[in-house]
Amino acid sequence: METLSQVVSMLFGTPLIPAALIGLVWGVIGGAMPGLSASVTMALVLPFTYALDPMSAIVLLASVYIGAEYGGSIPAILIRTPGTNSAAATVIDGFELKKQGRAGEALGISLWSGVVGSLFGLAMLIVFTEPLSRFALAFKPMSYCALGVLGLSIIASLSGGSLLKGLAAALVGMMIATIGIDPLSGVNRFTFDLPDLLGGVKPIMVMIGLFAVAELMRQSGGVDLATQAATSVRIVFPSFPMMKRLAKPQGIGCGVGLVEGLLPGGGGSVAAFFSYNEAKRWSRHPEEFGKGSVEGVAAPEAANNTVASSSLIPLLSFGIPGSNSAAVLLGGLLIHGLIPGPRLFEQNGDVVMGLYVGSFVATLAQIPIGLLILPLCMWLVNRPRHVLAAFVFMLVLSGVYSINGSYLDIAMVMSFGLIGWLMLKNDYPFLPAVLGVVLGPIVESNYRRSLLLSGGEHSIFLEDPIAVGFLITAALFIGFSLYRERRDALARKKEKEVNANA
């Protein structure tokens, strides 16, 4: 009862609601801007929070995070450009749905799944912070390495046909990820003495190049440039039977998002890919994935929104951010003299409480704000295609440039676009390349870290039960994919023979 009255007085006695709403709107806009990742969107508003009271500042930042994770899916669905890292998996089926004229449905599903994911993550944050934070500590370098291997093992099922081409694409991704300062020795790798490359190539650059720029090039080369598919600007919120169908992929997304949010390093993009793959594996309609599956939008969107809340668990309990965005939030806490950790809950219980209530407000506000913003976005993408293509090009390049003000970044995105276009023409899948960029560094640095710890003995992996579990699972995944590949090849061969005989 006391808590309830505290919540009510917070809602109406403090600027919590405006902070949550402003944060959410800015987050959706920033997340939807190609190139502005969730963490950059948050960092941009951080200076404005200096003058606010600590609670409003934290609520504002957390709401930006929630909004950005959701906003990233809008360009992913509409213009094949992931607005944030973690929306890359949404591109696959989201853009397919858009091509089929079902953009309104896809956006509705992404909105609904985002709300479900946020609510689940928030519930976990409020109820299980203590036990879940202990789970985060159990992960050693060996476990992270094995987790990365498990992630890479899903390449096969993301390859869409040719395993060989999928592996080749993944290798290219991993090669791009080696650019920058070596994570262990500090030696420069492929930086050509350019300071801009010291920090490595950001995955979002690769994603924007491969997805957005390549798509724009493809469209420009098409003959249907002037024609325009008329699509309704109406947002279709999922019906009740649809909600029931989405429950399973959303559940998978929530579970994966919870685990990934707890572990520093992975963040939303790994969670989104994992949940996409798992949703496909457990779906009754796996054949729809990649061709416009509603489940393929629901799972990653639920996952990345769950991460937005669950990455706050290690942040609040240890002061260890589970994602880049959580790191910006850490900066926000520190500026206001709030030191996250066990004593935050005792000393600044009101701020934590405010954070919970504010996040809840922002989560629910996603629905009305989304319904207001989305028709506008849909109207925008329904403009004549040649105008739109030029506009998107400008949007993408200015977004990329705005991050660091670097021409090199623009050149890189354009080059990745060219590579992406060549891949597209030759039927190489993009997703394994993106997965390689994201997971390559996790596997490499933790593998080397493990061996450094053991003095070169590989047995150290066997001493870590989590690593053993992941590696066995990965072996099973790969074995199953190889089996399926072979079975399909045999089936194709048979079909050919039948056709030849006929």
Partner: protein
């Protein structure tokens, strides 16, 4: 050297205290831009933003903070080196700008800038998990003598790693120095026992210290810290490793003498400001004021040492 700096600081401070109630010092510019390579919320960003809140009392100008992130400081160095050396723009320096200058070939390096002053030193400490077996640096080294030691540092090319490598060399032990992708990663591996100990800044450990999850083994400074009087230095425990993580300001080369004089007078006054003292007192920062000449000496000495370390570690040729 240190005594001299302290004496100088005292002299300037003494002079400043006499005129504490006076008007802020006249300055040739109305607006002064303070550049940091940190993004908002990062270490140097917080340092500058706290400072500008109080700086206006001592220098008659408006101070704005500009975040020029990217290229690990390279972009900020270029922003400075191509500005006029008239005192209208300064850069918040930390060892990062030296490491970046040494590691890559940025268009402008630390050699193109002129240190204006050093203000603080961030103490680096050696820490272990609170329920672990090590009570002192000696315990840690004894273990590393018997078995293989496991030390951690936040980043591969950093002062933290330099401290860990030097401890390993001074103690002549076989230890793995494992670098990470930031202080958070390192912290997890110290807390879960993967590493024996880690090197980090005391600010990053606040939460764990308050929660009694980590134990400090020693601090890599010459003297003990004022707010941790019972924490011995690593040096007094028999291992001569001292590192100096400085925090200060630099401008473009060729700063006018009158500008330098205003800052050298104002900064000690600022450090004595009771309100500002309250802010930095909570951060375990060591007040280490040095004027432009001594700051330059310190920075150059630091760079020589860092270059030797990076070469020894095989990071650069």
């Amino acid at each position: 050297m240190r005594k001299l700096a302290a004496a100088l600081a005292f002299a300037v401070f003494g002079f400043g205290a006499g005129s504490a109630s006076a008007e802020p010092a006249a300055y040739p510019h109305k607006v002064v831009t303070l550049v940091t390579h940190s993004s908002p919320g990062g270490g140097s960003d917080i340092f500058l933003r706290e400072m500008v809140k109080h700086l206006g009392k001592y220098i008659n100008a408006t101070f704005i903070v500009e975040n020029v992130s990217g290229g690990s400081g390279a972009r900020a160095m270029s922003r400075l080196a191509t500005s006029k050396p008239d005192g209208s723009v300064f850069y918040a320096i930390t060892p990062t700008y030296i490491y970046t200058s040494l590691l890559s070939k940025p268009p402008h390096t630390y050699r193109d800038l002129q240190p204006l002053a050093i203000v603080f030193a961030d103490p680096e400490v050696l820490y272990t998990r609170a329920d672990g077996p090590y009570q002192s640096v000696k315990d840690l080294i004894d273990h590393a003598r018997k078995a293989r030691g496991r030390f951690g540092a936040a980043n591969p090319a950093s002062l933290e790693r330099q401290a860990a490598e030097r401890l390993k060399a001074v103690a002549k032990v076989n230890a793995a120095v494992v670098s990470h992708e930031g202080g958070g990663d390192l912290m997890i591996n110290v807390l879960n026992g993967t590493l024996d100990a880690g090197v980090g800044e005391i600010q990053e450990l606040r939460a764990q210290l308050a929660g009694k999850k980590v134990r400090l083994l020693g601090v890599f400074t010459e003297q003990r810290l004022a707010d941790f009087p019972d924490l011995p230095t690593v040096k007094e425990q028999g291992f001569d490793v001292v590192v100096h993580k400085f925090r200060g300001l630099a401008g473009p080369k060729g700063l006018p003498a009158d500008v330098i004089a205003v800052w050298e007078k104002a900064l000690p006054q600022l450090l004595a400001d009771p309100e500002y003292k309250k802010v930095y007192g909570q951060e375990s920062l060591i007040v280490d004021f040095r004027g432009s000449a001594q700051a330059t000496e310190l920075v150059n000495g630091f760079a020589t040492e860092a270059e030797a370390f990076l070469k020894e570690a095989g990071v650069i040729k």
